[in-house]
Amino acid sequence: MSNKTELSVSAIKEGTVIDHIPANCLFKVISILGLDNCDNLITFGTNLGSNRYGKKAIIKVADKSFEKEDLNRIALVAPDARLNIIRDYEVVEKKFVTVPQEIIGIAKCFNPKCITNNETIITKFTLVNSNVMALKCHYCEKVTTEEHLKIL
């Protein structure tokens, strides 16, 4: 706990710390993980200094561990996110996120003529290229690339 930005957000005894979230994606991460409907103690800080992004955000969720699958859902908005598993104030494990092969209900298809942008439908994509974040729509079969990627 020597890191100064860590200290800007109060430490937790047990739980999960999600670090290196781009500051402008904090609320998207909260919503993707359903933290807005979570009863646990949650603290977060945003617009913290970071060498990598300029501004980063951090979320601390007490007494909770996440399924790998759930955490990977945030990879679309926070590909460099780092997860620290905390036990008794100590980091016992560090994890990274990876973009899942199948992405359901997070991303928006860039194609305005896609049925998913015209009716209430849960979107579904497969990852065709993880290096450039290219997602193929299950419905219209068009590929949405990172530059056009919007999160629902």
């Binding site: 298809c109 194609n111 003529k113 896609c114 049925i115 998913t116 015209n118 009716e119 209430t120 439908i121 729509c137 299950h138 419905y139 219209c140 079969e141 068009k142 590929v143």
Partner: protein
């Protein structure tokens, strides 16, 4: 393929494609069979397409089936704000099979997930039109005697033309060589070229017709539409470059056939029509047999 929807040509394996085109041949030899007797097919055209609809409805009638449906969205409840989901949920309780044309891309896949009965995609926006692809394949098989090892020329709008994209994917099962002739603005998109590369299929790109046409087995023509060009001057420059006339067929192979999904505007000069290598009208007729084969297979009747 019984009870499976036909949404995208990629849903069918090589063997399934071959089964359909072989079956189309049988239906052509014996077109009036009562296989769809006592069956009701819903024909839902959320946008008008007279050509495709008549082809399907002829196929259904030749098979002895009955048709219900609508011919454009204004005569359906869609104009009253009904969702596609609700329309499909309702109609799939009435009919044994749904043929659907819709302006939005991905609508057929979505409908197939909502429906209790199989969906045949009769075109979903610029995405897929798999029955067109199967009739194209049947036309190629009929005129060449095989689908294997052919030299396929595709001409015109290769960027937006869904028929050429689907045909390219389907033919890739059969070791083809492709030649693409198109204006710079309308070249075959990279995603299809990468895909061909990954399959080890050879293709060559050209910006105009040359004497290389003498190697072609199939010349697949498409329309170059003015609205595809950002710059009208570019359209003016290229609009006459991709027009086929009879003299251009002089030094081509005897087995060459000219295909076009129709309707044509001016990209095939009318002097080609009398050439025995012109095949586009027969191609349209083949659509009826291909659609008979598709519907009979999906309903498990053959």
């Amino acid at each position: 393929m019984k009870n499976r929807s036909l949404v995208s040509i990629n849903d069918f394996t090589k063997e399934e494609i071959l089964k359909i085109v072989e079956l189309a041949k049988e239906f052509e030899a014996n077109p009036n069979r009562d296989l769809l007797k006592n069956k009701v097919v819903a024909s839902l055209f959320f946008e008008p397409s007279t050509r495709t609809r008549l082809s399907f409805e002829t196929a259904i009638n030749r098979l002895g089936g009955r048709v219900v449906g609508f011919t454009d969205a204004s005569s359906s409840s869609t104009t009253k704000g009904e969702t596609l989901k609700d329309t499909i949920k309702m109609v799939s309780n009435y009919a044994d099979l749904i043929v659907m044309r819709h302006p939005l891309e991905g609508s057929a896949r979505y409908a197939s997930e909502q429906s209790n009965v199989p969906i045949v995609n009769a075109g979903d926006g610029a995405n897929q039109h798999p029955t067109q692809t199967l009739l194209d394949l049947y036309s190629i098989l009929k005129t060449q005697g095989t689908l294997e090892n052919l030299n396929i020329f595709m001409v015109g709008d290769l960027k937006y033309g869904r028929t050429v994209h689907s045909l390219l994917q389907a033919l890739s099962h059969f070791n083809p060589v492709f030649n693409f002739i198109s204006p710079e603005e309308l070249r075959m998109p990279d995603e299809y070229k990468f895909w061909l590369d990954s399959k080890g299929i050879k293709y060559y790109e050209h910006s105009e017709f040359t004497d290389i046409l003498s190697r072609a087995d199939i010349l697949y023509m498409t329309r170059v539409q003015q609205e595809r060009f950002v710059d009208p001057i570019e359209y003016e420059k290229v609009k006459n470059v991709y027009i086929l006339n009879n003299a251009m067929l002089d030094n081509t192979k005897d087995n060459l056939r000219v295909l076009h999904p129709l309707p044509r505007v001016n990209e095939i000069n009318e002097d080609v029509d009398e050439n025995p290598k012109a095949y586009y009208f027969e191609q349209a007729e083949n659509g009826v047999y291909a659609r008979m084969a598709i519907m009979a297979s999906i309903l498990g009747l053959v």
